[in-house]
């Protein structure tokens, strides 16, 4: 640690001369070249081993036939990828069914998860007694994990013993709906539970965005005689655009990564129609020991999500112009 140096100067962006001189006298001999790296080191070890290495290893696995139980793991080139796209391979049907399940869930859940929380946020975005309490109540389900949510709703949606059918019966509606075992009920259940579970989360993000919109804009709109709808359309929505983009992008990703709800509530039924991509990947890689093929699926999946996210971004950017 002999090389004592003013760190700021090393990068060329020197502070103003006066400050520089003051700092040099004060901190010479104290700020060492290694210090920034020492601060970074513990995290970088974790990040390297469990953040970067898996990316490289995933790519490597995807071009090998890798079975945890077999000693030979031959290089197979792009075979693992080709199998996902050729209709005569053994995995083709199950893989695309899981992609289809994920797409259905995402398309059905995202609009609701964007609109319902916005409604909640607009409701909460005014001053009235008890506001903090209601916000906490709507957010509460989100702090529970998917395991609790899954067990709870498997029970609530039980065709015979569940509360949902019971309440429907009380108001004179059919009380024998097979919520978790038949179509289209299984999708309705999974989407409904997810909306119930995570709406409070998106609502809190919207609330923060709403409070960044200047009250003067509303005042001005009111002066111009704008109706409530016009104020929403011309002040609220444009003001929320960046937040809306964030909510849509993160919600699409969250929905596309759905696993626990279908694993615990519908348990994949009917048949394997509600088995999602994430579920199929871990099943293939960790239960059926096809780690190579599962790694290829992971990469295709990650690329698909990247494309969707970018499309999202461009769509919203475009609208702005």
């Amino acid at each position: 640690m002999a090389d004592v140096i003013e760190v700021g100067a090393a990068r060329g962006d020197a502070p103003p001369p006066a400050a520089n001189a003051a700092r040099r006298t004060a901190s010479a001999g104290r700020t060492r070249r290694a210090t920034p790296y020492l601060f970074l080191a513990p995290y970088l070890v974790l990040f390297g081993v469990f953040g970067l290495l898996p990316i490289v290893l995933g790519l490597w696995l995807s071009v090998h036939q890798w079975d945890f139980q077999l000693p030979n793991r031959p290089f197979v080139g792009l075979d693992n990828y080709k199998q996902l796209f050729s209709s005569d391979s053994a995995v083709y049907g199950d893989w695309w069914q899981s992609v289809r399940a994920t797409a259905i869930f995402t398309v059905l859940s995202v609009p609701l998860l964007v609109v319902v929380p916005l409604g909640l946020a607009l409701l909460l975005n005014r001053s009235f007694p008890g506001r903090t309490f209601f916000r906490a109540v709507y957010f509460a389900p989100y702090v529970l994990g998917v395991a609790v949510i899954g067990l709870l709703w498997r029970f609530l949606l039980d065709a015979n013993l569940g509360l949902v059918n019971r309440l429907l019966g009380v108001v004179g509606l059919p009380s024998d709906t097979p919520w978790v075992t038949n179509m289209p009920w299984a999708w309705i259940s999974l989407v409904g539970v997810t909306v119930w579970w995570t709406s409070g989360f998106n609502a809190v993000i919207y609330l923060a965005g709403l409070q960044d919109i200047s009250p003067e804009l509303y005042e001005a709109a009111r002066m111009d005689g704008a109706s409530a709808w016009q104020r929403f359309r011309n002040v609220t929505l444009p003001g929320l655009r960046p937040v809306l983009l964030f909510v849509i992008t993160t919600t699409v990703l969250a929905s596309a990564n759905m696993f626990g709800q279908s694993f615990l509530i519908t348990q994949g039924t009917p048949g394997t129609e509600t088995r999602t991509v994430v579920w199929f990947i871990v099943e293939e890689g960790l239960r059926n020991n096809n780690a190579g093929r599962a790694a290829a699926m992971s990469i295709v999946f990650a690329l698909l999500l990247a494309v969707v996210s970018i499309a999202n971004f461009r769509l919203f950017r475009y609208k702005e112009d």
Partner: protein
């Protein structure tokens, strides 16, 4: 965040106010009735929970569900509870220590490679963690961590979120404090420990609580890397409980209640931190 700006019709008429509260209360029922039902069912006997249609209140009030999960060698729920508590606490501490140090370096120190390092870390925020599960399994397998405590404590701490979150906060602190400390002869470690960290208590608390919640609730990873009944955390344990008790709902709901109570208490105590953490994550977008 805490001072609401009255935007639409804040000073509405009495009738409007009644409508507002009616809506708020109806929504409260939607969000709370399922949770209340979970607690009520956990206090029923098996036959009472099998009634069609089910009755609202537990009659007789029974400790059956809790007795089943507390004296159960095949499903050691208390042990899972303890494992979850230890894992989530250690995970949260690990995130705090590693992320705060890294974030300090990236926000306040200048060094060669800083931009690249930060870009690399932030870049991984865009990779869905689920797509790294297979290679990560291989890595923990090589480390002989399968079915140990470390496997649910350590890998998740590589997440870029904590570093990103704290860096933003550290950047917002005024430079003058550090300069004053430097003139007083403090070195970087002392500035970090005695100046920056104490000023960052709210952000650190938020990150600690969010990390604890994430770890406590994690389901996908532990169901594949923990196997022995005595090693499980609560989420995979609850899955096992559902498998063994199928429709014995008082027992299953008792397990769900046990897993919910700590995070609900944490939510009540640290609500401000959780809500602020979530809303701040949105503003960055």
């Amino acid at each position: 965040m805490t001072t609401p700006t009255p935007t639409t019709d804040g000073s509405g008429s009495g009738l409007r106010r009644v409508g507002l509260y009616a809506t708020l209360v109806a929504l409260t029922l939607v969000f709370l009735v399922p949770l209340v039902w979970m607690v009520l069912t956990s206090l029923k006997t098996y036959p009472a929970a099998q009634e069609i249609p089910p009755s609202w209140l537990p009659n007789p009030l029974a400790g059956y569900g809790y007795e089943q999960i507390l004296n159960n060698s095949a499903n050691p729920v208390l042990r899972w509870f303890l494992n979850s508590m230890v894992a989530a606490t250690l995970h949260s501490l690990l995130v705090l220590v590693t992320a705060s140090m890294a974030a300090y370096s990236l926000a306040r120190l200048k060094f060669r490679g800083r931009g690249v390092t930060f870009a690399l870390i932030v870049g991984t925020l865009f990779i869905p963690p689920t797509s790294l599960i297979i290679p990560n399994f291989l890595i923990v397998d090589q480390l002989n961590w399968i079915d140990t405590l470390a496997v649910v404590v350590v890998p998740g701490a590589a997440s870029a979120f904590g570093v990103f979150f704290l860096r933003q906060f550290f950047l917002s602190l005024p430079n003058e404090l550090e300069e004053a400390a430097t003139l007083d002869g403090a070195n970087q470690w002392q500035i970090f420990y005695k100046v920056v960290l104490p000023l960052s208590k709210p952000a650190l608390a938020t990150l600690a609580v969010l990390s604890f919640l994430t770890n406590w609730n994690d389901f996908l990873w532990p169901i594949f890397v923990l196997f022995s009944p005595e090693k499980l955390t609560l989420p995979p344990g609850l899955g096992l409980l559902q498998g063994s008790y199928v429709t014995d709902y008082p027992v299953i709901m008792a397990g769900a209640v046990l897993a919910s109570v700590p995070v609900l208490i944490l939510f009540v105590l640290a609500q401000r931190h959780i809500i602020q953490g979530v809303s701040r994550s949105g503003l960055k977008g």
